[in-house]
Symmetry: C2
Subunit: 406 residues, 2 copies
């Protein structure tokens, strides 16, 4: 067998007992796989504790020093897990990013990995040791410590798996895989055995929180097979891999819902070139992420534009939009927080027509009104009333027969 990379999140190593439990799992796995590399997050709560400490010192702590501070969390958990394994008779060594040389750029608190030196890891694997790596960390050319930002340990795991050409990168988490929909909304939601990188990316960006988009992108780039599974239940989870071979022949793989956006509509915009561009440049300059955009047909000499943003950005968005509207000589600005976005995701859409119409028909049959539509190659999203969100998800899940094994 080749190398297996295993990543355990903060909850999985959240206490002394859980760390010992992870150690026992690794020893069990060691009986099958010759070479094991483990990436760990900080114990749950530890990173927050350190960040709070930094913010007690000052309002905006220096980012280089913040990385020095926060990166200790992963060093602690990796050392503890290594101790547990050694105590159980399993030769092990913990390594941090400087010891390995996980080179990143200089963007402290959100650094990107440039290069990984695998020499030390391979040396320790050849000594028949399990190698435990502190996730989330990197080091610059100047030997300053960096951190990788949100989802950082997943990124470390996938990057290490890529560099070592590992057979698989197992991401242990507190859910047991990727589901066709949120089981809290759709009780019949089914765990997927396999899903493509592209679908996983759409699911992640639409709010399914199993894997951070960045690690999925990296896995796609380096062809790393990811296996998402539970650290508490011993069962197969979901494989994230190349589209095609072994994939279920599903039209749609998942239904997601997102109630975190708000809709803004600018009325009566003069029908002249450059109007939309002016508005969205102003929003981009204010660092506001716009999701869906719909422009109405021109009525007379004006049209309306509706777009959605994160509710947290709503106040800022209204202010920026009103300012632009004045300059453009447009009409009023209205907003609506009671909306939700439901989406269907599936690589099957690429080669099948009629998926969109099936979606719209299913919603219409249940009197669910569609207010905005946006599509990509493998995704269709509709804005509806927030009150209809759960029903919409259930309806779509049933219409696309996701409760039945494909």
């Amino acid at each position: 067998m080749g190398i297996v990379v295993k990543k355990y999140g903060g909850t999985s190593v959240g206490s002394v007992e859980r760390i010992k439990n992870v150690a026992r799992q690794i020893i069990k796995a060691k009986e099958k796989d010759t070479e094991i590399v483990v990436i760990v997050s900080a114990m749950s709560g530890e990173t927050d504790r350190l960040i709070t400490l930094g913010h007690e010192i000052c309002r905006t702590p220096d980012e280089r020093e913040m990385d020095m501070l926060v990166s200790t969390g992963e060093q602690v958990s990796s050392a503890l897990l290594s101790m547990a394994l050694i105590d159980m008779g399993c030769p092990t060594i913990s390594l941090n990013a400087p010891q390995i040389e996980i080179l990143t750029d200089k963007s402290h608190t959100k650094a990107k990995i440039c290069k990984i030196n695998t020499d030390r890891i391979i040396k320790e694997l050849n000594r028949e040791k399990v190698v435990i790596i502190a996730g989330f960390q990197g080091i610059t050319e100047e030997e300053d410590i960096t951190t990788l930002g949100r989802g950082g340990s997943d990124t470390t795991a996938v990057a290490i798996a890529g560099a070592l050409q590992a057979d698989v990168c197992e991401i242990f988490t507190d859910v047991d895989g990727v589901y066709t929909s949120d089981p809290r909304i759709v009780p019949e939601a089914r765990k997927l055995d396999i899903i493509s990188y592209e679908e996983m990316l759409e699911m992640a960006s639409l709010g399914a929180k199993v894997l951070h988009s960045r690690s999925v992108e990296l896995a796609k780039k380096f062809g790393v097979k990811i296996h998402v599974l539970s650290s508490f239940v011993d069962a197969h989870g979901t494989i994230v891999t190349e589209e095609g071979a072994g994939m279920e022949e599903l039209l749609v793989s998942g239904i997601t819902a997102n109630a975190k956006e708000a809709k803004i509509t600018v009325m009566d915009i003069p029908d002249k070139p450059g109007m939309a561009g002016r508005l969205f440049s102003a929003l981009a300059d204010a660092n506001i992420n716009v999701d869906m955009i719909v422009q109405s047909e021109t009525r007379g000499k004006t049209n309306d534009i509706s777009f959605t943003v994160d509710k947290t950005d709503l106040q800022k968005t209204i202010a920026v939009t009103k300012e632009s509207v004045e300059k453009m000589g447009a009409g009023s600005v209205v907003y609506d927080q009671d909306i939700a976005k439901v989406s269907i995701v599936g690589v099957g859409m690429k080669s099948h027509s009629g998926v969109a119409s099936l979606m719209f028909k299913a919603l219409a049959e249940h009197d669910i009104n569609i207010e905005m539509i946006s599509t990509s190659e493998i995704k269709i999203s509709c804005i509806i009333r927030i009150s209809a969100m759960k029903e919409a998800v259930r309806v779509l899940h049933k219409s696309f027969e996701l409760d039945k094994k494909g």
Copy 2:
């Protein structure tokens, strides 16, 4: 002005408020000294918290992993202090042992410094930054993290001061200097302005806990001038330096007392060569540190040997001694825990006779019986009843006129 090295202990950086306070002190000092290097311990309680965590994982944690774990404490405090300084407008950078290259041997948890690379420190000083260094840490040739054992941050500070040929190494602590005796026993005890390395070493080994012997030895070796002072009171403390120049002309510099030893006596040892050697080899093999040893005059064909050990080693000592006694064909073994050691320390003894007799006379005048005596070039220690310890210290402090400025 040249380089000043400042070391702050765990109490001095024990809270966010105290860290900010230290930052303000450094900024004040920066107005006078061009170049400042700061060494910090972990926040008080943090090292213990980490050690406990390690021991919750297993009874005897792997020592390499223990160093990975425990060394994070100093990284946290150095990053926090650096943040505080930067926030106050003072350019600062924190560095850990791997970033500097504080090379040590491989003796994890009690490593010795072999070599310090000053390149990075000097580079940052040239950038007009205050350099904050995580104390207590080192790194091996193989880039494994080590820690320096008890008093480790003091050792880091002195070693860095030596490598940088700093003007002075200021050790900030929770007392304001070195006293002629313990002020809790002798209210008239006086703070010494200056003391020699040799005297400080004797004081440290006799139980005065201001500085760890190891750092004083290192300071002596590299001729580093140490200044012990309080981090809470802004006042001159005690300088520890070469004997001679500027030194007060004192016969005796300090009186110390130690109630932590017990006395063991082996009766009726056959008066043959090799008897004492056999006993003390057995004790050394059992890793027991013997302090004072006194052998009686031979009476008939036997003699008695008395010696002192730490009370914590008493049970083990009795067991080992009884075993040896049987083999030697000696008599009974008796022990006594109600003893104390009082000592006078002073480089003046080297050139003055009559110091010992003055000590014995002073104790005799107060009916304090001397049970054992041991002397070195700059120290005389007497074993007395523990009940007389405090009185003995006060009597000696007065007899040698330590309450009066020399």
